[in-house]
């Protein structure tokens, strides 16, 4: 590993001096996801300076970028070569960074079809609580040397350390895409989605809301054409459909605008949850957004009975933004926190109060 450059050295200095100063650090990329999870607190550890695409080999389908790189810049560089991040990371506001994207671990409408952000992480360079620069994984597709720390960083909300640089697998943009829509109630929509999931169809995304199911097909031209014929429905105009899926991905769709928003993650085949209020279902039934007056505890109980969990994105976070984990798992969480950040300085309380 080459010696750390000036930007990394400054981060190391701030990390090493934090505990003696009695400070905890709030790792900040673009500052676009502060509303998600528990509130950030502490002295900002800014990553904007640690920016830029370090290497990009389109023929290898691998890109390596530093944490502060604007997500927009990365996506543009990929688009210039006809490639993309297939998991469609949400951009809640403009200015989000690559590091923040990985730390949040969120994925957009295509997640059920193409895998999660974590599945595209190939390697990462991390600063731990001792200010050590550590590299895990690499830039190759298959790698089982040592524990897979880099993929564990996806969705870790910065509690284990500072992601300095990350290598991601990228894919060619889809040749052909079509969106079809159906008038269906929730139960029928879930049943159809489950049936289609068992068939070799190029379903890339689905969304059900207020009696309408939209399905995005994506893949080889011939496959999309034959799936459209097979499934029927009404074909949406391509430009308008693309804009609509972006609004779902980035939560600019009006449904996501209110002051209460719950994300319920359940097995795709779970029965309708039946809370009062409005619902927006994605991922073939596996991600169900709710705007409901139902108490959070009640939603969490129902999610748990269905085999899932619920996150309070906006609203009453008094029971925690994230569903608590079982005690044996929490013991492992605490021990991992100690292993990476023994002095507890990074994003304290951002995921759970104990971390």
């Amino acid at each position: 590993m080459p010696p750390p450059d000036a930007a990394v050295t400054r981060l190391i200095d701030q990390i090493r001096s934090a505990r003696p100063r009695g400070a905890v650090l709030d790792i900040v990329g673009g500052g676009t996801k502060g509303f998600f999870g528990e509130p950030p607190r502490g002295e900002p550890l800014r990553l904007q300076e640690l920016a830029g695409i370090s290497s990009y080999e389109p023929s290898e389908l691998v890109v390596t970028a530093r944490a502060g790189t604007p997500l927009r810049e990365l996506e543009q560089a990929l688009a210039d070569k006809g490639q993309c991040l297939p998991f469609e990371p949400p951009r809640f506001r403009s200015g989000g960074t690559v590091g923040g994207m990985v730390a949040a671990g969120l994925a957009g409408p295509s997640r059920a079809a193409v895998g999660s952000l974590r599945d595209y992480v190939l390697g990462a360079t991390l600063l731990n609580g001792r200010g050590e620069v550590l590299t895990f994984g690499g830039q190759v597709m298959k790698n089982v040397a040592g524990y897979d720390v880099s993929r564990m960083l996806a969705g870790s909300w910065g509690v284990l350390g500072v992601i300095c640089e990350v290598s991601l697998k990228v894919m060619a943009s889809r040749v052909s895409t079509a969106t079809i829509c159906f008038e269906l109630d929730e139960r029928r929509a879930l049943a159809d989605l489950a049936r289609w999931a068992g068939l070799p169809l190029p379903v890339n995304a689905s969304a059900w809301h207020e009696g309408e199911l939209r399905v995005r097909l994506s893949g080889a031209r011939a496959a999309v054409r034959s799936a459209c014929e097979k499934l029927g429905g009404t074909l949406l105009e391509a430009e308008a459909a693309a804009r609509w899926w972006e609004s779902v991905r980035d939560h600019t769709h009006p449904f996501f605008g209110g002051d209460r928003l719950l994300r319920v993650s359940v097995p795709a085949t779970a029965s309708p949850l039946g809370f009062p209020g409005q619902q927006f279902i994605e991922w073939g039934g596996a991600q169900r957004w709710w705007r409901t007056p139902a108490p959070v505890a009640e939603v969490r109980d129902a999610a748990a009975r269905a085999g899932g969990h619920a996150t309070v994105v906006r609203g009453d976070k008094s029971g925690g933004a994230f569903t608590p984990v079982s005690e044996p798992l929490m013991r492992i969480h605490r021990a991992l926190k100690t292993a990476f950040d023994p002095e507890r300085i990074f994003n304290v309380g951002r995921l759970y109060a104990d971390l």
């Binding site: 023929s59 897979d148 993929r151 996806a154 080889a220 359940v266 991600q287 798992l329 991992l336």
Partner: protein
């Protein structure tokens, strides 16, 4: 990767508590511990049940066998296929000697004059397969393939694969023993890697046949040797370590899919810094504070790496090769 298809691992912590990593939903609350548990070689928890994702069986699969006059051309063809945005269901490379050994064993009809052959598979709906086979045929031809055969039916497809699938037993037929290596390199360096391995054959005076999961850059060189000859065994181990360390120099990793176990502990000392290895050991203790699960595997002790570092200086020239060192 296995991880991408695992939804839930159910088992017990080292302290005997029942635990679930992951769930039947697409994500779980808290840190995503599945990636750290899958592939951990039994170091972190005891697994009793696994839930995997199933996908619909493709309606159709067809396979292309393409011959190339040079290893370089075959390596470039792999890069070109990937660069075109094609994701083959399988993309395998066998060098000339491996092809000959496999052909002798299964009589698949491989081109024995080729320096390397590529097996390139497409699956999906009939329309997708037709589109992809056409695209792959075009790229392979443009990349200098000297012969291209496309399977016409399932029986022929299986014949095309039979040599590749029997590469290991076929190699067992031409040598008393073989050691199968497993490393990954960036795909664009396949040809360079094969030349490096050829040079090692001369250096260590042992033969090597090569079969690669070329689409992933994952190498399985088989070093042929006789385990009854301690001198050959010693050279075989040095040959293997050299392949792994060359893979690292090319920007790769010392194991692509088979894992570390105990055999690759020394190579872990080369791939990871002391701080990185200490972080791994801390992860181990976070799951298994008393270190009762598979102790001594996967992550080398600091002492072992110090010892290997000293040995490394005299690479290939140990003073007392028969003395047990570790």
């Amino acid at each position: 990767m296995t991880l991408h298809n695992v939804l839930r691992v159910r088992g017990y912590t080292s302290q005997g508590d029942a635990v679930d990593f992951g769930s039947e939903a697409l994500d779980s609350a808290g840190l995503d511990l599945l990636p750290i548990v899958v592939g951990s070689e039994g170091m972190l928890a005891v697994t009793t049940e696994v839930t995997v994702r199933l996908v619909p069986k493709p309606q159709l699969a067809r396979c292309i066998v393409a011959s190339f006059p040079t290893i370089e051309a075959a390596g470039d063809a792999v890069a070109n296929v990937i660069a075109r945005g094609i994701v083959p269901a399988g993309l395998e490379l066998m060098d000339q000697r491996m092809t000959a050994v496999a052909e002798n064993y299964v009589h698949a009809g491989y081109d024995l004059s080729a320096a390397a052959i590529l097996l390139c598979e497409s699956d999906g709906t009939p329309e997708e397969v037709a589109e992809e086979i056409a695209a792959m045929t075009q790229v392979l031809t443009e990349s200098g393939a000297s012969r291209i055969d496309v399977s016409e039916d399932e029986a022929q497809r299986l014949t095309f694969w039979s040599g590749r699938k029997n590469a290991f037993p076929a190699s067992g037929g031409i040598s008393p023993d073989y050691m199968c290596m497993d490393s990954t390199i960036p795909r664009r360096r396949l040809a360079e890697m094969l030349s490096a391995i050829q040079a090692m054959e001369a250096k260590y005076e042992l033969r090597c046949v090569n079969v690669f999961h070329a689409g992933d850059g994952n190498l399985h060189p088989l070093i042929l040797f006789d385990a009854n000859d301690p001198e050959q065994f010693r050279r075989c181990e040095l040959f293997g370590a050299d392949i792994l360390e060359t893979s690292l120099r090319f920007g790769g990793t010392v194991t692509g899919e088979h894992g570390v176990g105990v055999e690759k502990l020394n190579s872990m000392c080369v791939q990871f810094s002391q701080a990185e290895r200490e972080q791994f050991l801390a992860v181990k203790r976070a799951f298994d504070p008393n270190e009762i699960l598979n102790p001594g595997k996967v992550i080398p002790t600091l002492q072992r790496c110090a010892e290997y570092g000293k040995m490394h200086v005299r690479h290939g020239k140990l003073s007392f090769p028969d003395l047990p060192r570790f």
